[in-house]
Symmetry: C2
DNA sequence: CCCCTTCCGTACGCTACCGTATGGTTGTCC
DNA sequence: GGACAACCATACGGTAGCGTACGGAAGGGG
């Protein structure tokens, strides 16, 4: 029963998986061969077989994170930039608004699953992290810009709103980490706050 | 001539000063006894005389940073929460707007002097950093809330706007670090962007 | 069944930092 | 101008991670 005690023979995938977990808990410094080997109940011999060196491990881990945000479209932010091609162009404005609201709701809500992302943001300077982070960031901002364009903003204004909205998300994540009680946790207050943010972000220019 | 070659006899102040510089360049990991000793042209013997251990050094460095943002009111963000007591209460609304604009202008402008702050934000989890960061954050948000209150927002709305504004600042700083070219560098585009943000933040609720 | 590839454990040397011990230097005050 | 405190260098041992070397186990194809 439960052969979990001796589950030898690890794969590169196992390593990056555990690395992502470690990344969320201990930040980038925790993504290292020897600590991970300990976590996996193995030794560095295994690690240095699957990865040429530590940078290779980091690169693979970051890459897998990016994959998880490109392939499997998570409800976190990406949601679904590509709608079905030629459907309902009629009420798409409200659709865009709903999607934006849903997006904010998810993003300004939970703080747990953002651990990995926060860790990567904290290591934004790292040469192996920066490119991926830049790509993901740009993709998200573009998606937001498209959303605001659907809402009737002209391209320039939409781009600005998108930047502002994403900036809001980033700042919110950071704030939730530094002063958790400065951000509404849940319930009605959070709903009100969300509506206020949404209203501010989508307010027509004066 | 130039006795700079042998300027022995360091002080605790010298150490925290160099530590702040190192913090801006290499992040919190760079705030360590031995690397700093090398930077200062001294040895660890000096360091461990001025500081009990590394944590002591970190605490002193963070504390000094907080001082610099409390005592000497820098143009960065704090600007001047306490105006002169009983002057011009007449056109204070426009004064508040001007102050907010100036604040945004400074804050959304340069990216250089924020190195230390970004390093601290990246290390927000660290037990010796978190409390200070929380204090400074709260102080700034409170100041912003007062500003929005002066602009005519009721307390609850002002608090929300303040949080949103500060969140914008945090996100902007983060964005400027990860995708520097996603943020308008200077010139007219930056002025327009600034106006747009300001307009959005101060827009009347619908 | 054997062999060869895949995977892993162990042992080693290296670097960077921590923290301690101790003696020596430098400054200052009387 | 000596004494005491402040300051610093040197040397030491300890820990954590890197990366290499090498031998051995696991397991599937011939």
């Amino acid at each position: 029963m439960a052969e979990g005690t001796r589950r030898r023979r690890l794969s590169r995938h196992d390593w990056t998986g555990e690395a992502l977990r470690a990344l969320g808990e201990g930040g980038l410094p925790a993504v290292a061969i020897e600590p991970l080997a300990a976590r996996l109940g193995a030794t560095k011999g295994s690690g240095y077989w699957h990865f040429r060196n530590r940078d290779d491990l980091i690169a693979a881990t970051v890459e897998r994170w990016e994959q998880a945000h490109t392939d499997a479209v998570i409800a976190t932010v990406d949601l679904a930039p590509s709608h079905s091609t030629a459907t309902a162009t009629a009420h798409r404005a409200t659709g865009a608004l709903d999607r934006l609201r849903e997006l904010l709701r998810v993003v300004l809500g939970r703080t747990g699953p953002f651990a990995v992302e926060l860790a990567l943001l904290a290591a934004a300077d790292h040469p192996l992290v920066a490119p991926t982070l830049a790509r993901v960031t740009r993709r998200r901002i573009d998606y937001l810009a498209a959303l605001f364009a659907e809402l009737g903003f002209d391209p320039v204004a939409a781009a600005r709103r998108a930047r502002l909205a994403y900036t809001t998300y980033l700042g919110h994540a950071q704030l939730a980490r530094t002063v958790p009680d400065a951000v509404p946790a849940g319930g009605q207050e959070r709903r009100d706050y969300l509506d206020a943010v949404l209203a501010t972000l989508t307010a027509a220019p004066r």
